[in-house]
Symmetry: C2
Subunit: 190 residues, 2 copies
DNA sequence: AACATTATTGGCAGTAGCTGCCAATAAAAC
DNA sequence: GTTTTATTGGCAGCTACTGCCAATAATGTT
């Protein structure tokens, strides 16, 4: 229960941080500002996040979770790309349109602010690990095998490129576009 | 010419930084120490590197360069994995055994020190871009195409996983082992 | 309901990574 | 040999972050 509270608070802080980052830029936003906006002392802010850039993590993690859920629903006998095209509508489902816009805004910001990009890549690598776990359940591969890790990394990389690509030319319906890009990318590496 | 001098100095600083990092750990090493060890003022250190972690970049870039050279030598009609198995001995050629050990030590350190891992991932992403350029020359794919970027990302991810895997169980002849791991990994995603 | 215990928070002081600014020195151009 | 230009160093300063202790809130016990 206590842990759940903590996650909620982290997400709350994350929202404020992302809004400030989007409004003023990352480097122009101080930890003090984030703390004040979130109604918390600076000291506890740093207890929740190691760096100010990592404040975006809880929000981004929602995207990762959504994708992970799709992976979990993947029947082992089907082609992954096809499954994605059929079942991948998680962002529209699990979050409001505003939230999706915020997510894309963060990813877009990572292209200008180096430190934020680094935080983004760190999160991606964590997601790679969870993808590997899911893959281990859905396939016959051993959980700690080299092949599994490579495949998880490839899927992760495909997801990253697709997301970056979408962010640069964002269309009317980003969610549908993202689904297709991800499916295309993954069909190339599997 | 001036730029070449600059690169040399960066590499020189990088060596000292890596040695200090390996000896005392990253967080226990201060920018002042790095500067003093490299015989340069702290101010100019920060002119050369944006963060102390990024001091490892010039050294790591040598590994990337080596791999890139192998990619460049890839005949378009051959299977990439086979080509790698035949032609991939760059680390032994281009650098001394001590330098290879230093490289692996850095990669190993990235697993304990978060900030260093972030710097490592940033470098990897830069290498992804250069891989894409080389691929554009060696294949018939358009230089800025989505498919090309996905393939470059997959190769990059495979290289990363293979390197990480090697670092955890380093054998007597790391170079040969690395060649095989990279070739295996890439054959899975191409 | 009152009290003891434990976890979470805040304030304060301090360290260190980094930046801007100007003077000093070195390199290059002429 | 002098003017110009690029590189370096020193200093001051900001802020991201940490350790430490007190305060408050949450939780459990009787």
């Amino acid at each position: 229960m206590s842990d759940e509270q903590r996650q909620r608070q982290r997400l709350e802080i994350s929202r404020h941080a992302v809004r400030l980052f989007a409004d003023q830029g990352v480097s122009a936003t101080s930890g003090e500002q984030i703390a004040r906006a979130a109604g918390v002392s600076e000291r506890t802010l740093w207890r929740h996040f190691a760096t100010k850039e990592s404040c975006v993590e809880p929000l981004l993690a929602k995207m990762v979770d959504a994708f992970q859920a799709v992976l979990r629903a993947w029947p082992a006998e089907l082609d992954l790309a096809e499954h994605l095209r059929a079942a991948y509508t998680p962002l529209l489902d699990s979050s409001s349109g505003a939230e999706l816009k915020a997510l894309l805004a963060v990813v877009r910001m990572t292209h200008d602010e180096q430190a934020l990009r680094a935080a983004y890549l760190m999160l991606q690598e964590r997601s790679e690990l969870t993808f590997a776990e899911v893959l281990a359940e859905r396939t016959s591969l051993p959980a700690d095998s080299f092949e599994l890790r490579v495949r998880a990394a490839a899927i992760n990389a495909a997801l990253k490129v697709a997301t970056d690509h979408l962010v640069h030319a964002d269309t009317a319906d980003a969610s549908v576009e993202h689904r297709n890009l991800v499916a295309d990318a993954i069909s190339l590496v599997t």
